[in-house]
Amino acid sequence: MGDKQDVWQGTLALMVLKTLEAMGPLHGYGIARRIEQTSGDLLAVNYGTLYPALLKLEQEGYIASEWGVSDNNRKAKYYRLTRAGRKQLEKEAQEWAQTTDILARFMAPGEERS
């Protein structure tokens, strides 16, 4: 497990929002698992930071939560994306794409610009 990377600062919120958009309502454990799976098990979600991050998103109004029952008949708190969250996701995804794009141009070998 030691070679796994922690989630980068500031990107956890985006990953949570994206996961909820893709999966629909999901509980905290599910979100963590999903993020790890999506990363191809290259990322390790620190649960200690996940729950406060969920709380923060909820306080900001991007996600909402309610208690529900899981597939295994277990009580769990389900988080879902709100309309504001969907908008925020769009905005952040765009910004992220731009950032990676810029970085990619820097990293691309041999393409010198005038």
Partner: protein, 749 residues
């Protein structure tokens, strides 16, 4: 957008402060369901139950830290800590009821005393006067450099000059106070009244509650008499009836038509609540000061600018009228201060004294807290060992002390509410201090109490907190089994506190001692007469029937007959030993002064003759007062208009005017009219009587006999120089306003 998000999040965090228990339960449930799902997942992946559990717990990485960071995000950590400290503080205080009770009572007394005095100060000094834009209202006193009087009255022409020449004021108006006899049926009563110049109410911008104010022509001589009732007068004399307008009251045996009623809170008499306002008649005598002047500053003009201008004006008038206006200046003072008068200083001193008491209370409670922190060494050591920082421990201690101080403040406020009322009633029996009755707990008093409580809490909490915040963990933990002993440092701080407390108490004691000493000096200073069994009766005879009050009496005047009768009747009363009349009450604060020549001796300076205070008394006055007769005789019934004029002088006068000689038989002459004079012979010398007050040394004083004719024009202003009384008592210089006073000596009971 961003700010909206921050706002929404902040609101959510504020909400997070509440329903703490439900939120805690939810968090625990969420963590639990997380773990169980993880374990189930692990089991499905083929781990043994033991492994599955272990892995889940490791990956979650400690539930408590997660919960802690979750909590920090949920609410507002600072407030959470505060709430936690408060809860803890409450528990600690509840656990030590003895300490809490003593500390609470000490603080309640200290804060309560401060709040009580402050609520009086607030009502009397701080709250704006109930007149629109009252901050610009100034009292413009005259000053008298010769007598060192800075709050003197002004003559009518002087007032007119000031009003016409000053540009700093929007307007000036004048008033004076007088006792007037109100007749109701066959009952006569002397009531406090205020005489005002036209435009008085307009300058103060207070419209009457009903009716109208005075018209300019109503202050002219011979105008029909009109009066305005004060709220108090309306309520006491007319029981607040609505049909008072154009009713008639008899004041000094003259009918006055009521034209208006002033609203409650309007008051100008410095000592008593006036009942009636009447217009002032213009008095052309520049030497007769009797007016107090109120001015309203123009917007943008400061008090000191107005003062500078008034200085220029008074200097100009001094050159113009050297005879009457020499050494006369002006003193511009905020009306609020003028109305509070000499009580201002007294109240502020009182406030200082109770502040000292509070400081002593602070050191006391700090001492108690220090003593208690010795027994809390173990608790503190444990908290320090568990990682509580120094700042955190100080915060905890300060929270506790502030909690204690606020509780003490709340209790003190209750105490103050009650004691301020007591203070007001006690003060009110001695003096009708303006606005005293308006003392109540308002937002300012509440704010004052809160600020004082908080300051107090920090003041007495900071030393114990600093001391406790660096506990010796090793010692503290080891001492667990033994009874706790106090550290050396703790003992040292406590010694410092004890020294401070003693010093403060000494200051208080010295202050109280000084007060007591001046009281004792006053008691041991002989007033010059015996005060026991002495009664004072104010008499005021209507001018219309009996002539001007101090006018030459003459033996067969109606006044003389009236006085003769009343003295005979009073002396005949069972238990009355003697009775006599006097114009100015001894120690009443004021006396007029008399200028005279001594035959065969040059005047002290070409322009200024000899001068002494004077008083007018009836035969038997000194016997009634039991003043010691040092030489000669006192006035007797035989002294009359037909016998040579005699005077009685006091010891100081005898020593000053005839040093080393026997004053009896010596003569003075009073200028009377243009070229004539009256010669009076000293019949007797009496011991000094304090005319001013006990704190002021005796002045030379001359007593005239009320039955003997003074110089012609006695009672007009030709032969005496009026001198206003020491303020704030009403000026006594107007002879028409000064009622006669009867002194009655009863037998010892």
């Amino acid at each position: 957008m961003r700010s909206l998000r921050v706002l929404r999040a902040s609101l959510a965090r504020v909400r997070g402060l509440f329903h703490r228990n439900r939120r805690e339960r939810e968090l625990s449930a969420e963590m639990k369901s997380h773990l169980q799902m993880h374990i189930e997942h692990n089991l499905r992946a083929g781990m043994t139950p033991e492994q599955a559990r272990r892995d889940a717990f490791i990956k979650l990485g400690g539930i408590e830290p997660i919960k802690e960071s979750y909590r920090d995000r949920r609410g507002i950590p600072m407030i959470e800590t505060l709430l936690q400290d408060l809860r803890y503080g409450f528990r600690m205080l509840a656990k030590n009821p003895g300490f809490t009770l003593v500390a609470l009572l000490t603080l309640a007394l200290g804060i309560g005393a401060n709040t009580a005095i402050f609520s009086v100060v607030n009502a009397v000094l701080l709250r704006p006067l109930p007149y629109p834009d009252s901050g610009r209202l100034m009292m413009v006193w005259a000053t008298d450099a010769r007598r060192g009087n800075t709050e003197d009255v002004t003559s009518y022409p002087g007032f007119e000059d000031w009003r016409a020449q000053s540009k700093s004021f929007e307007g000036m108006t004048a008033f004076t106070t007088r006792g007037a006899t109100l007749l109701a049926g066959d009952q006569a009563e002397i009531i406090p009244t205020v005489q005002v110049t036209p435009g008085f109410f307009e300058l103060l911008r207070v419209p009457p509650a009903t009716g109208r104010t005075f018209r300019p022509d109503e202050s002219e001589a011979g105008a029909s008499h009109v009066a305005i009732l004060s709220d108090a007068g309306w309520k006491t004399r007319f029981s607040g009836r609505t049909d008072v307008l154009s009713q008639t009251v008899r004041i000094n045996d003259q009918p006055y038509t009521i034209v208006g009623v002033m609203p409650p809170g309007f008051r100008f008499h410095p000592e008593r609540v006036e009942e009636i306002y009447t217009p002032i008649e213009r008095d052309p005598n520049r030497g007769h000061g009797f007016l107090r002047i109120v001015g309203r500053l123009r917007p943008g003009v400061s008090r000191s600018q107005a003062q500078v201008e008034m200085d220029i004006i008074t200097r100009r008038l001094e050159q113009q009228y050297p005879k009457t206006d020499a050494d006369v200046g002006a003193n511009v003072m905020p009306l609020t201060d003028a109305i509070a008068g000499e009580f201002r200083i007294g109240l502020l001193i009182f406030l200082g004294v109770v502040a000292l008491v509070l400081l002593i209370a602070c050191t006391n409670v700090a001492n108690l807290m220090l003593a208690r922190s010795a027994t809390r060494q173990k608790e503190l050591a444990v908290r320090a060992a568990l990682g509580a920082s120094r700042g955190r421990l100080i915060q905890q201690f300060l929270t506790e002390s502030t909690l204690l101080a606020l509780a003490g403040g709340a209790l003190g406020l209750l105490l103050a509410n009650w004691s301020a009322r007591l203070l007001v009633t006690t003060l009110a029996t001695h003096v009708q201090l303006p606005r005293l009755q308006a003392t109540h707990t308002d937002a300012w008093v509440l704010g004052f109490t809160v600020v004082v409580s908080l300051t107090t809490g920090i003041l007495f909490g900071v030393l114990p907190a600093l001391n406790a915040a660096s506990p010796n963990v090793n010692e503290g933990l080891r001492e667990s089994s033994r009874s706790a002993t106090e550290s050396i440092r703790g003992r040292r701080i406590r010694s410092v506190l004890v020294v401070m407390e003693t010093a403060l108490a000494l200051v208080l004691l010295a202050g109280a001692g000084l007060l007591l000493k001046s009281l004792l000096i006053m008691r041991s200073t002989a007033p010059g007469f015996r005060t026991e069994n002495l009664a004072v009766v104010n008499l005021s005879l209507p001018r219309a029937k009996y002539g001007p009050e101090l006018d030459r009496v003459g033996q067969d005047s109606a006044r003389a007959r009236y006085f003769e009768q009343i003295l005979a009747r009073v002396t005949a009363l069972a238990g009355v030993r003697a009775a006599a009349l006097v114009a100015d009450l001894p120690m009443g604060g004021g006396a007029d002064s008399l200028s005279f020549h001594i035959p065969g001796r040059p005047d002290p300076s070409p322009k200024k003759p000899f001068s002494a205070s004077f008083n007018i008394v009836s035969a038997g006055y000194f016997r009634t007062m039991e003043t010691s007769l040092l030489a000669g005789r006192e006035f007797s019934e035989q002294d009359s208009a037909n016998t040579p004029g005699v005077i009685v002088i006091n010891e100081t006068a005898a020593r000053q005017f005839w040093p080393g000689q026997d004053a009896v038989g010596k003569q003075i002459s009073l200028p009377a009219g243009k070229d004539s004079s009256v010669t009076l012979t000293v019949a007797g010398v009496i011991g000094d009587v304090r005319q001013q007050d006990l704190g002021t040394a005796a002045h030379p004083e001359i007593f005239l006999n009320y039955m003997q004719p003074g110089p012609p024009g006695h009672g007009s202003h030709s032969w005496y120089e009026p001198r206003p009384s020491r303020l704030p008592s009403p000026p006594r210089s107007s002879p028409r306003s000064s009622p006669w006073i009867m002194m009655c000596r009863s037998l010892p009971s």
